[in-house]
Amino acid sequence: MSEPVLSVKNFTVEFWVDGVWYPAAIGMNFDVAAGKVTAIVGESGSGKSTTAMGLMNLLASNARMQGSVQIKGEEMVGAPTSVLRKYRGKEVAYIFQEPMTALNPVYTIGFQIVETIRTHFDLGPKEARIRAIELLGMVEIPDPEKSFEKYPHQLSGGQRQRAMIAQALACDPALLVADEPTTALDVTVQAEILDLMRGLKTRLNSAILLITHAMGVVADMADDILVMKDGRVVEAGTADAIFNHPTHPYTQELLAAVPKLGHSAKRELKFDTIVKPAPVLVLSDVTIEYPKRGRIPAFTAVKDFSLEIYPGEIVGLVGESGSGKTTVGRAAIGLLPIKSGKLSIAGRDISNATQKDLSSIRRHTGIVFQDPASSLNPRLPIGESIGEPIFLAGLAKDEKLNHMVEDLLDQVELPRSYRNRYPHELSGGQRQRVGIARALALTPDLLIADEPTSALDVSVQARFLELFQGLQEKLKFACLFISHDLAVVDILSHRVAVMQDGFLVEEGDRDSILKNPQKDYTRRLIEAVPVPNPAEQALRREVRLAKKL
């Protein structure tokens, strides 16, 4: 066996906070061989990214590294910056999560690739350009000659990620570190990027260190897996061993928490067949337009969209980013005006409602937002945030309000003492529960949930979904559940609606949509979802690729 490209021994990263060193990664030991993919999985805060960045000393100045990191036998820990610089980009290249921020917006992608090449090789501008175009072709960017001259904002998310991969590959690195390379991408694009990375691995024989929290992606790519928790590796092994015979309880828990498409129990809503109740939310032929602003022309985000939601029903709304799902959600709660069509909530027509009319529907609606970090006012204690709708509706004050807030906290399974805490003291999952408590404060008939789990870790997401389901069964509110994650929608919803480019593609019972989709687009979406099982995933991949050809 050949010598590993990356060899990490007893590697520890610590951060200096308030006079003490806090460890973020402790005693890491692993090797990555050429042509192999090693994945580090774990939840946020487990130290997986810190480890990856620490390899090449890319961390903030309050970090320190101990132990040993060897790239092709050369020691990196404690090496002077001049040595590290020679290795960065040339031997070790990084792909980051967010291609929009990782590429410099004021330079063309061609320039940025050429820059990397010319930093490490003695090449003239013309040769470097030829090499850059070759690289862009290799990552399958359409029309590489033209794309060379494009700025990052002129490319789509997937193309940007490809450009970044091209830049990372510019010097044929021995090790490619991919830090959540597909987290910001839609499933269909994610599948393409993963295909590309797999192809490049075999072609270039590089070692890949993949950092991700998505078990499906790991199943798709990894040869070896390290599971991290609280800065330590709790289990390491081959992909097959980890997925099929996990020994550590945390690994088992993590795998169990991953929602699987098509594995959840049947959910049926029984209506009285004779008298069907009136729908809570009616959207009929709704068109929503973002008005013209200055020279930017008006943009139609949603067109001729019709959907009805009945009491006690959860309707999942899925689609890729930019398909208009969030716009529908915001309009359904009166945050956006509709241009044409008819929108009514709980029997009240709000198609042309003014601000005053809207206040009457506020008591019947609630919304849970996507980002737990920005959906709570950082300057208000969470008790006040939760109680605000009740207070504004004039239902209760002072003591009585406090009691109601405490009840709500009980419902979302948070300690009552959290009433006086501030949002920054809570974890993402806890904040999202506060968001639900606030949305449910007025016991609404209709709840809009806009990607409430996309910012959460799998295990947190699993608990959140359980809680959400329990609450829904108890309170029987109707819910429009917006998500890009089909597996989550599969667990929760009774019905599913699929959107593409502002149009409703397909709508129907959960099982008929997810198991027997009629439209191509839906089928493609479902096929692109990676399954957290290496063998099954390989099978699905082959089917998908065969179809593509």
């Binding site: 951060f15 806090y22 920005s374 959906s375 709708p389």
Partner: protein
């Protein structure tokens, strides 16, 4: 990586309210804390020492001379008249001992006690500064909030008005005002200057509002049924308070210099009243012969402006969560093992 860092950052602030975090960070800023103490001493000293009237109340001050007293000029050792009697040089080192004497800062041509003049000048300058800070702060915050929150046509109209005001240099506005209304006194000068120096602040507040109003908690408040008024005052303004406080302090340190410049040019505070700028302008010719007449008011201006600037700096660092203290090499070497999680 973000998440990991957040977890660590959260440990740093666990169990503290926003206000406590800001206070803690502010107290870590050494220059700001020292400036706070210095400025406090200057304000207390200046307003307790010199006489001032506020409406019907007249406070005599502990300093024995007023600005209109003309005691006889004292003779100094080298034969010149009215030189400072303060000495900080102990006798055993060959000096006159640590004493402030009869006229610590000296006397002017006709015998006015210069210490009394400087006290009054500093009172005026500080008053002008705080009034400008208050008025400009209020107007700037209100205009900026309205423009940023409502956007569209209102924003356009207000910001074009701001553009218009910005094109006129404040020193020219000040001179015109001073020329016409200078004899109305320092109070009116401060009021007028305040009416013209809020433009930069309103821009900053507008920007902050534009950013904050897109955040989801504002939508959440709207869905909860909050009125525009409540959203502005309860949800957005408290989150913008950092920007506002910081720019008001910086605006104030600019104001003290503006007042000085105007008085120096003869458009600000006019005799018989005194301000620091006026004192400097009156005695600029004496710089070579009697430098103390120039140095004392100058030193006071520098002390006040610098301390307000440092305080503003400290506040900015305190309010900006991205500002983290750097580790010194010593601390890095000392290391130490992490303490157990409390």
């Amino acid at each position: 990586m973000d998440a990991a860092e957040n977890a660590i950052a959260n440990r740093e602030v666990a169990g503290l309210t926003q206000r406590e975090i800001v206070l803690k960070r502010f107290l870590h800023h050494r220059a700001a804390v020292i400036s706070m103490v210095v400025l406090g001493f200057v304000i207390i000293g200046v307003f307790s020492g010199g006489a001032f009237s506020f409406g019907p109340i007249h406070y005599p001050g502990w300093w024995k001379y007023g600005i209109n007293d003309t005691p006889p000029l004292t003779q100094c050792g080298n034969g010149s008249l009215g030189c400072p009697t303060m000495s900080l040089w102990p006798k055993f080192l060959g000096g006159h001992g640590i004493t402030i004497g009869e006229h610590p800062f000296g006397q002017d041509d006709i015998g006015h006690d210069y210490f009394a003049l400087v006290l009054r000048g500093a009172q005026r300058s500080l008053m002008v500064t705080f009034i400008i800070g208050f008025i400009a702060g209020t107007i700037g915050t209100v205009i900026g909030s309205i423009a940023g929150f409502f956007g569209g046509r209102i924003d356009n109209a207000l910001m074009r008005f701001v553009d218009f005001l910005i094109t006129i240099p404040s020193i020219i506005i000040g001179s015109v005002i001073g020329f016409h209304f200078g004899n109305l006194g320092a109070l009116f000068l401060a009021l007028y200057l305040g009416l013209f120096s809020w433009t930069g602040l309103s821009r900053l507040v507008r920007g902050e509002f534009l950013k904050l109003r897109e955040l989801e908690f504002v939508d959440a408040a709207r869905v909860a049924g909050a009125s525009n008024r409540r959203i502005i005052f309860k949800h957005i303004l408290p989150n913008a308070v950092g920007v506002i406080i910081v720019s008001i302090t910086l605006l104030m340190s600019g104001a003290i210099l503006l007042e000085t410049a105007l008085s120096y040019l003869g458009f600000g505070v006019t005799p018989p009243d005194v301000s620091l700028g006026l004192l400097i302008s009156q005695y600029q010719d004496s710089f070579t012969t009697r430098p103390y007449l120039f140095w004392w008011p100058g030193l006071l201006i520098i002390i006040i402006a610098l301390s307000i600037n440092f305080i503003g700096d400290g506040l900015r660092d305190a309010f900006d969560p991205r500002q983290r203290r750097r580790i010194s090499l010593k601390e890095r070497r000392r290391g130490g093992s992490p303490k157990a999680d409390a």
